[in-house]
């Protein structure tokens, strides 16, 4: 009898021990989930939404903005309350744009609710709209100082910044010819933003910032323009896709180069320029290669977050193509002096890659959870990063 009890006890002990080992082996998330929020999905006008979303980080008071194309209104709502707190009618502007500008992109910068800037890249005009939706000032964009550049509307990041009576506009140099590999050197020997004084009715761009890293002129990576963010001090931070450093500009002066390398970053593979018409090669390169993407500034904690997408095999062991949103990614966290303080890996099975990656809020970082295909709501986790 004693022996039987002993056997049972031993088995129980072994079971507890095994469970404890298994539990320790299980990969833990490098953060704590504070809260889960679910918000009903809304119908947005697709292309215009991209531009508006990109400005959300600038408002950073737990408010998101979106454009209601049907009713021609710009709505602001609180993320956590899911209620519209302000609506700005944009009838005047929208009618103007519909008539003159066939482009669906609507780059804008929301400095505050009463100063919202829109750029018309066809007619080269910058508008400022107030809370009532009225155009209270407009500037002509000088065509001479901008003649070598396109306004970068296709950037998934901010196109305009307004700070201390200066306007910064994202640009791309016109020189690239995808059939001639010699031309890319010229394209990347260029700034990515032009700067103009706003005191006059015509914006003349005599200054610039955000120059591409020098090695981009000799090594081709099929790079997108950089991701940028603006901080409390009006500094613009540039993150280039294949550069471990980030670059900090105060107006047109480069004031800091900081090491913001991911621990998962190895040598970046170059893009074979001769294959730039081969869509299969291009798609493989874009989906599978490692790269830095968005950079955010958190007004609440005074930290900077840089996203790194890890390299991924094109096919899994079952010979099925790996899906882009399941690419592993991490967030590199920098303090106010741009010193790297932490890098957290995000499990794409729980938090797949999406356009915004995450949003800094007053309650913590807001990460979009994996969605069921037919789900009517988006669910988010608010996470607290463990800095110890």
């Amino acid at each position: 009898m004693k022996k039987k009890v002993l056997n049972v006890l031993t088995m129980a002990f072994m079971f507890v021990l095994l469970m404890s080992i298994l539990n320790n082996c299980k990969q833990k998330e490098p953060f704590t989930i504070k809260q889960k929020v679910c918000i009903e999905k809304k119908e947005f006008s697709t292309n215009r939404r991209l531009v508006f979303e990109a400005t959300n980080a600038l408002i950073n008071k737990d408010i998101i903005s979106y454009y209601d194309a049907k009713n021609k209104k710009l709505n602001f709502s609180n993320i956590f309350k899911d209620s519209i707190i302000l609506t700005i009618p944009l009838n005047t502007l929208d009618t103007l744009f519909e008539k003159q500008n066939p482009n669906l992109f609507f780059p804008c910068y929301i400095q505050n609710f009463d100063s919202i800037y829109f750029i018309d890249d066809i007619n080269y005009v910058l508008y400022r709209v107030n809370q009532k939706g009225e155009i209270d000032r407009k500037w002509m964009i000088d065509k001479i100082t901008t003649k070598d550049f396109y306004i970068n509307l296709l950037s998934s990041f901010s196109t305009i910044y307004v700070e201390n009576n200066l306007v910064y506009i994202a640009i791309i140099k016109k020189s690239i010819d995808f059939l001639d590999s010699k031309t890319f050197k010229n394209t990347f020997d260029s700034p990515t933003f032009l700067i103009s004084d706003m005191n006059y009715d015509t914006l003349k761009f005599s200054k610039s910032c955000g120059n591409y890293p020098v090695f981009y002129q000799s090594e081709y990576y099929h790079s997108d323009p950089p991701s940028t963010c603006i901080d409390k001090k009006g500094r613009i931070v540039f993150s280039f896709d294949k550069d471990n450093n980030i670059y900090v500009y105060q107006k047109d002066a480069l004031v800091k180069i900081a090491d913001a390398k991911s621990k998962f970053a190895n040598k970046f593979n170059k893009f074979d320029f001769s294959k730039n018409q081969d869509m299969n090669y291009l798609m493989k390169y874009i989906s599978c290669e490692a790269r830095y993407t968005n950079i955010y500034y958190d007004f609440n904690t005074n930290k900077y977050y840089r996203i790194f997408e890890h390299a991924m095999e094109q096919y899994n062991s079952e010979n099925k193509k790996n899906e882009f949103q399941n690419k592993e990614w991490s967030i590199i966290i920098l303090d106010e002096t741009f010193k790297k303080i932490k890098e957290i890996e995000i499990n794409p099975k729980n938090y797949p890659i999406n356009l915004m990656y995450f949003l800094p809020t007053s309650k913590g970082l807001l990460l979009l959870n994996k969605q069921e295909k037919d789900s009517k709501e988006n669910c988010y986790s608010i996470i607290d990063v463990d800095y110890d």
């Binding site: 018409q277 081969d278 869509m279 798609m283 493989k284 096919y315 010979n319 193509k321 899906e323």
Partner: protein, 149 residues
């Protein structure tokens, strides 16, 4: 005696190389056939067929152009041998959708196949096997009519 051994050795080596070398597209054929069965209850046939695979991802402008040429090339003769599969629910024009039956892949499994479906891909099959895979490029648009003959 030595010569015999050498000949035997070379023969064995050639045989091993030939045996090891699998037929072209064998992996792709197996996976594609399984995909057709699981998703649509179809299978590869003995007679010549061309599968037109329309991906979810790619260059939208290019895809529209390819599909426009494909739509113009469909006729009473070749339509019997063409099978359209799409995981993209916005790119197919009404004109094409009215002309041919399009198998819709809502799960996007098409985009994960070894065939590497990007933009529009033409897969020619015969004797239950994949013969040719054509990843259409912009310079191919004028050849599309010929491919679909």
């Amino acid at each position: 005696m030595i010569r015999k051994r050498i000949v035997l050795g070379i023969s064995l080596l050639c045989f091993s190389i030939l045996a090891c070398k699998s037929k072209p597209y064998s992996k792709e054929t197996k996976q594609f056939n399984q995909y057709l069965q699981e998703q649509f209850g179809l299978s590869l046939k003995d007679n010549k067929q061309t599968y037109i695979l329309i991906a979810k991802n790619g260059c939208m402008g290019c895809m529209q152009k390819y599909l426009m040429y494909i739509s113009q090339s469909v006729n009473a003769e070749n339509i019997k041998h063409l099978i359209f599969i799409s995981s993209n629910n916005i790119i197919v024009s009404e004109e094409l959708a009215n002309k041919v039956k399009i198998y819709q892949d809502n799960k996007g499994e098409l985009d994960r196949l070894l065939i590497d479906v990007v933009n529009v891909v033409l897969v020619e099959t015969e004797n239950k096997r994949i013969d040719t895979i054509r990843h259409l490029q912009l310079c191919d648009t004028l050849k599309i009519r010929g491919y679909l003959k």
